[in-house]
Symmetry: D2
Subunit: 322 residues, 4 copies
């Protein structure tokens, strides 16, 4: 059976403690663009995004509320709904600003996934270079999730939703430690990394080139917010990205990402990395900080209670909070 | 009926008068990488290409012999063959180094198109930064063709082969003057421009960023080959590319291209440009040289005689040389 | 006799018709930083400048009122005053915001030169990257002046004020067509170009690198002010600068300039360029527009009447307006 | 008394165990240019250098043999010789390829300093962009030396040779921990850092911009020599440099350095950094590795025996080996 047409990662919804502090970070320093602003929410986007791609909401605790995927048609929403129900997953229909028709599910691994079509599209800012600020963040690129059962999760998304594997990390026993999967033809829309979860490791925006990544380091330093830099700049072996990882005021991790490659060839062979090859993480050498392996954002159940999803350690399946 | 799965532009085959001079230009100065070399041919690629993407062959006159598209399967070759025959087009099966199965057709507009699957894939050079030379050309990106009947040609490729329109130029009477079409999810694999044809306006390789485009200007200047620069550097309104156009030793035009955008959204609306809006060509202002509108590479019939395809002026359908 | 210690170019004072339009251009688009603002004047600087380096004043006609050079001590002011008087040149002492002690002279070629020491110094913005805007203009670099007697003027500044020649353009008869002279150890503080004058050809600010030069093209294009781009981007043979020339709302020409070289060696031999070698102007090839040779800003006498200095054509000495 | 005219840092002479390995590192990967090659020595330079600036010699142990400063005249050599003798320092005249007249001294802190004038000058490679390799290293910029008596050494070079202080690190008791001094009008030619010595902390070459610094990381990674990267890339608070530190095959530390600022103003006030302000070392945050504080190259006496200079720990004056 043809899987539903998932087009690409579309949005992330985060709850934050202090919307003003988040606006200072994401808008004034990182230079994301405000598309809509309400008393409790900020809808942001990169200069190439024609839709909002990050929503920040006031919340009592820092959480991830949604990972949103754009699909190709309203029929695709029905198709995802059907496959979710067939697997006994909870689903719900919702609407949101500029997103009249969203299907939400809790995936088998505990993640609150949203699928949407259509979306209200706005004039982009790509060629309004006079309005670009800071490093000129381009577009949403991917999310990377902590899950204790990477192999299962990666297989599920490939089987049910047609995600294609671009790269993966394996140990000598053939156990998958991390997987990068895409729909849009670059390295990833969705990555899964071994760790206690369900948690979000990070979400990522694309930048035009590496010099913009280092410019952002300078901007943060100028504002005396260099402590927000958790890792980088550097070059991943995996994905070939020129990367920078920041922690926002609530501790959510955002990656600024540049320079990956095309994966549209049907005979593209996923790239295997050995778990013990340090180059997969950093071509230039040097280890990641410990926090990079252990800290992630709590994800929220979509049952309306705002509860976090119960997490599992490095094995087993997460159980939803009843 | 579902069109055949065209994946992306895959290669260009050019005949050149002096292979050594071409090697000096493409390999030593532009920094393309030699994958294979034979007495009469050079097979080149960018650092991300896993297959050869440019073949230069010794020939008595500068010609374009093939525009090659990678397809998704051998079945797709059969499908293209069937649709070509249904339209009364000549077809031929051939093989080539690393391309065991190629279907060649002469399209209704006179262009010698090749479709291939599979291709021998080689380790890429993307992360062998120590081997990159010059501006580090990344990958083949697109071809742009002169045709006197742009609207017909653009419609044919959309209808028969599933090309998707990203941008187009129109006059006030609704006549299409140029069209950009893609399969791989960026701005184009195939563009068509109004002009006497069938001719090749240019073929293009992707560069990592604009600083590499200007670096190439410096390299050419250093070698006292600044006369090879025909236009640029500049920023196209159409495609948002940071561009540079060069003429190779035989007069073939190559574009070095950077920074376009994603077009994977199914509700992407093609961008319309007015023919009289100079910004479509150059956001920074300033006209293109006359040669840019009038000069293009002659294309060759694939009948084995090496004859050029008879050309038409700005209307009518080209007629093949009998 | 040891010449007075001229340190570097320090400022330019321009009169402009509409201060608000100039602020939009210089501050909002180019990203120069406001140090002081009065009803009739704007004092601007780059992020490395600790002093103001550009003053814009409301005036009835677009003029250049001062070219300012920083000197090494108050004694150097006296020394310049003495040498000016010895040559029968008019001089005047003035003060200005942050410049308590300025010596003004009209040089033998008609230019209103100012020498100053000390200057009030302000905290720089170099490491306040969060406050940089647009391309992050760094510092004032040089002025370039039209004069019909280039050889005489270049000789006078070398002889009386210790300017050092870095590059020059000569024809086959040994006539100097242009000269680049410095005090600060890079290519120039003061350049003289053959043309009707005294006029200012341009003043220039330094940018960190070429990518910032092209970023500024994009910014102007985004604001639909691409018509302000007169020439470039390109690479000068002379000075090796990666350049861009703009015309401000009053027609004053500003160069954005990057990547020159050190000239501190005492055995540095000035680089000679043949007048007919196009590479001196543009390593990448291509001619300059005609306006680049014929249009310059009128300079103003410093007699308090606001009169322009009477100009000469391509020979002879300018005569002051009585 | 006017100090001798020291112009700038001019060269470093290093002994290395395996000249072929050093050539691979400095020439093939870093892209320095070979000016002369002898059986036992390599004379290298950046693309802007008109003279050789790095000499590598085969030696039994990795040592620094000379730090060379270009002076303004032969008279300046005599002047340095006189001041050295007045302080009881050993001196010697030598000649070398392209350096017919060199004065060598062992300074009071144990460093083997060379002063030279004139030098044979060669056509530069600055505008031969076609010959640039790798990141296009521009010119020698400075040396940084470990000395246990920083305050004394910095004072001595300012007093006797007219070095000017640009930045310094101090603790709360007013003890100088490090000092940056220049002659050429940028941040430094000579820096002194607290540590056991006399040792060389590093020598540095200038690169055009930060993107070239990160390009070099990629090149080293591509060649699987990422272990040569000791620190960076990053942004120093001090000097504002975009930096990278490498260790060569013998452990000598080389910095690739970009983007500092002008210091020619006579009223430039040296910038004070508190020893405990981490931003002085890395604006982006994050500590330096321990090796950066403790490891340096042994310097060699110039008595012809090839002996290392006896070192002192963090106080006291080094004693020469008799």
């Amino acid at each position: 059976m043809t899987p539903p047409e998932i087009v690409r990662i579309g949005h992330v919804v985060l709850s934050v403690a202090d919307l003003a502090a988040s606006k200072r970070f994401y808008v004034e320093l990182l230079g994301l663009n405000v598309l809509h602003e309400t008393p409790d929410g900020l809808y942001l986007r990169g200069v190439e995004d024609r839709e909002w791609s990050l929503k920040l909401e006031t919340g009592s605790a820092p959480r991830v509320r949604q990972f949103g995927f754009k699909v190709g048609s309203e029929a695709a929403l029905d198709q995802v709904e059907a496959l979710a129900r067939a697997e006994g997953l909870a689903t719900r229909r919702e609407s949101e600003l500029d997103r009249p028709s969203m299907l939400r599910i809790q995936d088998p691994f505990g993640f609150p996934m949203t699928y949407y079509y259509p979306a209200v599209r706005h004039p982009w800012l790509l060629q309004r270079y006079d309005l670009h600020r800071g490093p000129g963040i381009t577009r949403i690129d991917h999310v990377n999730l902590f899950c204790p059962t990477v192999g299962d999760m990666a297989a599920w998304y490939q089987r049910t939703q047609g995600f294609r594997l671009s790269e993966y990390t394996e140990d000598r026993d053939g156990v998958t430690w991390a997987a990068w999967m895409h729909r849009k033809g670059n390295v990833h829309d969705l990555a899964v990394t071994n760790g206690a979860g369900p948690r979000m490791h990070h979400f990522a925006y694309y930048l035009p080139d590496g010099s913009r990544v280092t410019q952002l380091c300078d901007i943060l330093a100028g504002a005396r917010m260099e402590a927000r830099i958790e890792r980088g700049p550097g070059r991943h072996g995996i994905s070939n990205a020129f990367y920078l990882y920041l922690r926002d005021p609530d501790g959510h991790r955002i990656e600024l990402y540049s320079s990956d490659y095309l994966t549209v060839d049907p005979d593209f062979e996923p790239i295997r990395w050995d778990r013990d090859d340090i180059r997969r993480q950093q071509l230039w050498g040097g280890p990641a900080p410990k926090s990079w392996f252990t800290e992630g954002s709590v994800v929220e159940s979509f049952d309306g209670t705002g509860s976090p999803v119960r997490e599992s350690a490095l094995s087993g399946i997460p159980t939803y909070i009843s």
